[in-house]
């Protein structure tokens, strides 16, 4: 007697037969028939035709039969909504049954019937069940509220179920509390309107913490997640929550452990980083994370993705546990790749020898993806730990000797990065590399090799021959290789002009005449023109010093990382994307780490080791470029491997206006990419950050000037009307005034004076107005201002009080200085400084605004802002969103850091700012607003 008998079918109409059985008088036969129906349903057969017959079996005392009918009902009620209504009566009756199991079953099932008509009938029974004497019924009813909310949110809110649900948070039974929490978090995820009514306070949190100890492991996950959304009001509260959550780290359920880690990681932000308690917490966090790695591989994977975030935030947590990340040969590939990533993150001078030995071992494994990543990892080690670079290089050379094709290619790609990081150190190995020229068949490896040949052309005797050999199949190469080859040959020519003329001619003609690729053609033309007009300049452009690459790779944006830390254990943490970027219907509540409450003590000790997780590896401050998120190699200035990183572009663009002649070879790439036409026409290139325009002295920065407004109406000025505005021109602030004489007599003897103001603005020269100003005429004046005046904080901050005198009287008026005229030209920070300051400024000081309805893309935005001295330091694309990192400086030296988040297709930008002085935020926000809307 097994259930497989339910699958045997007879040839005669199965449905017909079942129908007869369902209507049989015998209970046993009925039940067997329902079982057969269910069995058909589970394998996906359509048995909806039997709806009425099955539902008729519902009124029965037999619990098993009832359950089966309910199962059926849940599946088909939606498609049979008209007939489903007959079931309502039974539900209402069952909700009053004396057996709690039946009451619970009824309330459970009716929530699953997604038919609006029925839902309305179920409000009353549900209300009763929420207050049922039996906790089993209450806990089922709690979930039912979430179900109903999903079907008809309005109804649930109108009927006051949310309040009833909230009451359940204080229930005496921990299981009821856990289910209520689960229902609430689900409702919150879809409905932001429920936010207010379900707000948590410390009272509820304490109840949750009490329930935490007693409820089931699944309930603990819900409760911990709910606690992680609560922001305690001070560090004492945070610490007490931490203390009560820490025991969960020893739970056998991995989900509970990771949720507890999330709560603790978040609350740790609020605690004094130097306290013993933090040291103790850090110690406690490590063992449970290690334990997760001995669980099933799927669990390991999720744990590893989260550990990746955790070690970026707090590298001290797992620093002693490097070995647990060593790869076993039968780990699933997804575990291997993640382990490798974390190994590199934990690599330091102390353990590099071990890591390198491991990586070398991995490089001989069978799985190609894993081998490739291991080879790249060796390169990353070399770049990260300078002392080990030599050993890494020799390991790579050993690997090249294996002649395994993909290993060789991967090694060449990383060696190129090592050359960039440590120039003039390892070039002796070039000869070995050249031996493998013929085996390279992947574009990336070919391009890397060509770059190496071009860059070190003077040391390779037969560089011309080598490059020529590549040239033969020029048309068949990948664009990346073509571009690289072009640049390399031009480099070669500039280094050895005598014997390579023919070669350069050949490549230029190939690029400009025989190619359909505009990038290639344009770059060809530029080189051609550069070479033919001014070879010296060409040399300076093409053979310029390149910035070094930085050691820390693949780091997440600090703000994104902070946000993801709040989402540890969630899908977001697996994808390393904020949840609103990928989860549908997710109310986009951005979570951020709570600010530390003792911000004053922080100021006293900036850049503590806990604050900056990278501090233990930071060196080489001259390094400027951070390679792209996915590959190490996206960063070569004159390699088109994925294009230069935005930050690099930024660097180049910003140097140009200051240095009349471009000096980085990367410039050429940019020009090439932009298209020659726009370059020569001077117009089209403007939208890309204005770099082009600046080089060629075309239209230059034009800061936004707000429209003039009436400062002094004629009625108050005894006939004198003053219109005016402020502007910033050539690094100076000007007050643009228009005086109109609406009186009957001419006016003479104009003079102006400023009251003390917040920024010390004061006229730099006397006011020059055409005098006399005859009636019904206007005169304009441009008054240069400087900031050497006396300072007094005004309210509003940007107000300046002005007195204007003429032959008639003295008039007083006040006007608002547009904040952006106070942004100075030297407000551009370098990347390092930016990162350091961002970390240094306490998160309490961070504010966020939304700038609505901006019709620009990231490039035009940065251009516009740049014109107004808001400098984009880096631009990154994070999951489709552009993040612009900007800095600006006020005339009084206050520096402001900003992050502008631009989602494609969304005209609302999010602006986050950090500054030590809080008063200026409004002004700056207004400045952004006005600049972007004009």
């Amino acid at each position: 007697m097994t259930d497989s008998k339910y699958f045997t079918t007879t040839k005669k109409g199965e449905i017909f037969e079942l129908k007869a059985e369902l209507n049989s008088d015998k209970k046993e036969k009925k039940k067997e028939a329902v079982k057969k129906v269910i069995a058909s349903m589970t394998v996906g057969k359509d048995v909806s035709a039997l709806f009425t017959d099955v539902v008729n079996c519902m009124q029965t005392e037999n619990l098993e039969l009832k359950k089966l009918v309910y199962l059926y009902l849940m599946n088909y009620a939606k498609s049979q909504s008209d007939t489903a209504i007959i079931s309502v009566n039974t539900f209402v009756k069952d909700c009053e049954d004396s057996n709690p199991l039946i009451r619970a079953l009824a309330v459970r099932t009716m929530g699953c019937i997604r038919v609006d008509k029925i839902t309305e009938y179920l409000c009353e029974p549900l209300r009763k069940c929420l207050k049922d004497e039996d906790p089993y019924v209450r806990k089922t009813a709690a979930v039912c509220v979430a179900k109903m909310h999903d079907i008809n949110a309005q109804l649930v809110e109108d009927q006051g179920f949310l309040d009833l649900l909230k009451d359940l948070l204080s229930d005496s039974n921990p299981m009821v509390v856990a289910n209520a929490v689960a229902a609430i978090s689900e409702i919150l995820e879809t409905s932001p309107t429920a936010q207010q009514s379900l707000e948590m306070n410390i009272g509820t949190i304490n109840k949750l913490l009490t329930a935490l100890n007693e409820c089931s492991e699944w309930g603990q996950v819900f409760i911990l997640d709910a606690i992680s959304n609560y922001n305690p009001k001070d560090d004492k509260e945070a610490q007490s929550i931490c203390e009560r959550v820490t025991p969960r780290l020893a739970h056998a359920n991995a989900a509970v452990v990771l949720s507890a880690v999330k709560v603790i990681m978040k609350l740790m932000e609020m605690l004094d980083p130097h306290s013993d308690y933090i040291t103790m917490l850090v110690k406690k966090l490590s063992p449970p994370l290690v334990t997760l790695l001995s669980a099933e591989p799927e669990i390991q994977y999720v744990a590893l993705r989260n550990i990746n975030l955790i070690v970026q935030k707090r590298s001290d947590i797992l620093k002693a546990e490097m070995k647990v990340f060593f790869v076993k040969y039968n780990d699933p590939i997804y575990v291997k790749l993640e382990k490798l990533d974390i190994m590199i993150r934990l690599t330091n001078q102390g353990n590099i020898a071990q890591v390198l030995a491991e990586l070398k071992e991995y490089a001989t494994e069978v799985d190609v993806d894993f081998v490739r990543k291991s080879v790249r990892a060796i390169g990353r080690c070399a770049i990260k730990v300078e002392q080990a670079a030599e050993r890494c290089v020799s390991t790579l050379l050993d690997l090249i000797q294996t002649k395994v094709n993909y290993v060789v290619q991967e090694a060449i790609v990383v060696i190129k990065d090592i050359f960039r990081k440590y120039p003039n150190k390892y070039e002796s190995i070039i000869a070995t590399l050249c031996e493998n020229l013929d085996t390279l068949d992947e574009p990336e490896a070919r391009a890397s090799m060509i770059w190496i040949i071009g860059e070190y052309a003077e040391r390779i005797d037969n560089a011309d021959e080598l490059l020529e050999s590549f040239l033969e199949g020029f048309q068949d190469e990948n664009t990346q290789v073509q571009l690289q080859l072009l640049t390399a040959i031009v480099k070669l020519f500039l280094k050895r002009p005598t014997d390579t003329q023919e070669l350069v001619q050949q490549v230029l003609s190939l690029a400009t005449q025989d190619s359909d690729n505009p990038d290639l053609r344009d770059r060809g033309y530029i080189y051609w023109r550069l070479l033919s007009t001014d070879p010296a300049a060409a040399k300076e452009v093409v053979l310029a010093e390149k910035p070094l690459i930085s050691e820390e790779t693949d780091l997440l944006e600090p703000t994104l990382l902070d946000e993801l830390i709040c989402h540890i254990s969630s899908l977001a943490s697996v994808y390393h994307k904020p949840p609103n970027a990928f989860v549908e219907g997710k109310a986009s509540l951005r979570r951020s780490l709570p600010p530390r409450s003792q911000s004053d003590s922080m100021d006293a000790q900036p850049a503590s080791s806990l604050e900056s997780p990278t501090s233990n590896v930071s060196s080489a401050p001259q390094a400027t470029v951070i390679p792209g998120a996915d590959s190490l190699i996206g960063d070569l200035l004159d390699m088109d491997l994925g294009g230069p990183t935005p930050f690099q572009q930024q660097q180049m663009y910003q140097q140009m206006p200051q240095q009349s002649q471009p000096q980085q070879s990367g410039v050429v790439d940019f020009l090439g990419g932009e298209g020659l036409d726009s370059l020569l026409g001077g117009g089209g290139g403007m939208d890309s950050l204005g770099g082009l325009g600046d080089i060629f002295g075309a239209a230059s920065s034009n800061s936004y000037v707000p429209p003039a407004e009436v400062w002094l109406p004629a009625s108050k000025g005894k006939g004198l009307e003053i219109n005016g505005t402020f502007a910033r021109k050539n690094g100076q602030i000007f007050m643009e005034l228009t005086f109109t004489n609406k009186a009957m007599q001419p006016m003479v003897g104009f003079a102006i004076q400023f009251n003390r103001n917040s920024f010390g603005l004061t006229p730099a020269s006397p006011l020059q107005v055409q005098s006399p100003l005859i009636p019904n005429s206007s005169a304009s004046a441009s008054l240069q201002l400087n900031t050497s005046g006396q300072i007094q904080k005004m309210d509003p901050l940007l107000m300046v009080q002005v007195a204007v005198k003429n032959s008639i009287d003295v008039f007083y008026f006040s006007s608002m200085i547009p904040q952006h005229v106070l942004f100075t030209e030297d407000g551009e920070m370098d990347k390092k400084e930016f990162l350091a300051s961002w970390k240094e400024i306490p998160t309490t000081n961070e504010v966020q605004y939304v700038i609505t309805d901006v019709q620009h893309n990231a490039d035009t935005v940065s251009q516009k802002l740049r014109n107004n001295n808001i400098f984009t330091i880096a631009k990154r694309n994070v999951e489709g969103q552009d993040m612009l990192y900007q800095s600006l400086k006020l005339t009084n030296g206050i520096k402001v850091l900003a992050e502008l988040k631009i989602a494609p297709g969304n005209p609302n930008f999010t602006l986050s700012m950090k500054c030590r002085v809080l008063d200026i935020y409004t002004g700056i926000q207004t400045a952004y607003d006005t600049i972007l809307h004009n």
Binding site: M1, C112, R114, A250, V574
Partner: protein, 418 residues
Amino acid sequence: MIHSLFIINNTGDVFMEKHWRSVINKSICDYFFEAQSKATNPEDIPPILSTPHHYLINIYRNNLHFVAVVTTEVPPLFVLEFLHRVCDIFEDYFGDCNESTLKEHYVIVFELLDEMLDNGFPLAMEINVLKELIKPPNFLRTITDTVTGKSTSVGATLPTGQLSNIPWRRTGVKYTNNEAYFDVIEEIDAIIDKNGTTVIAEIQGYIDCLIKLSGMPDLTLTFINPRLLDDVSFHPCVRFKRWESEKILSFVPPDGHFRLMSYHIGSNNMVAIPLYVKHNISFREGSSGRFDVTVCPKQTMGKSVENVVVEVPFPKAVLNVTLTPSQGKYSFDPVSKMMTWEVGKIDTSKLPNIKGSISLQTGAGIPESNPAITVMFSISQMAVSGLKVNRLDMYGEKYKPFKGVKYLTRAGKFQIRT
């Protein structure tokens, strides 16, 4: 929360689906099949797959893929833990969790799944609660059912454990012989490099119990050397506070089999390696090679090493091997290229050895690397970490139970690089 579950066999049949919310068409599994086709091994399928509207969180166990569908932000570990728990429960109910047993008990499976989740939220996951709600299949009962014409497979009363403060234990347990057995099992995970140096060695330990005690016994278990344990995870029944303060395990046990605690002794402690492997594997030009492996006991504290199995996954280029073992049997699977040598017990006077020749496919080059050898073994009566149970005390009940502790050390992931 968890929307639906599909159970898929190795040939790609979706033979079971369960929806806790609206029905999701099983065509969603196409995304899974796509990932499956990309993966070389079934275990290499990424556990989390994203599709335009859903996330597929899946595990691979007993040659079955359990694919859960979620639509909203859900802690993935929660889903993974749930799926593994589902398998555990099936195994407990049906003795095994494979395609045929699941198909055989279709309705029970379906009822169980329905009872475990409500709207995607865990409802009853404790095995003792489930067993009261849905009786496990039982040969005797099926006979009584057919004779009496009554079905008893669904319990009609609210399970007692469901809401008590100790949901893991049902009330009214009665045994004539009261027994409590504890198995201290330690698995050594290790990577040994080709020179015999230990790259990493760690111990994963478990204390599995079989408790058959009447009433509501309250147990305390103490260790002689609890200081060894600094990374532990406990069954919910263990009172964490007492462990924190006194380092003793105090708990009201569930009835029957369960895992009381698991612990991890990390690579920073010294772990004794009970055996080492002398190996000499070489490939030569001209499509052949030599293979010579000897297994020797090392630090075994005088206990004998048993159930030794050596597995060698040969590179793809290997055609066949011809070997002579000094003891035990060996087999070679020409498809997976896996050589398995069942050594059995190691006799210290005559060390087990296997040697012979390897033939390579003609035309295939010499493999780039030697295979990593996996060794399995077990040593009874010994916990390699040295952990020892001191005593077990029982409170709350009057009878005298029979108590027993067993120790076992075995290989976890024990690999030797060659």
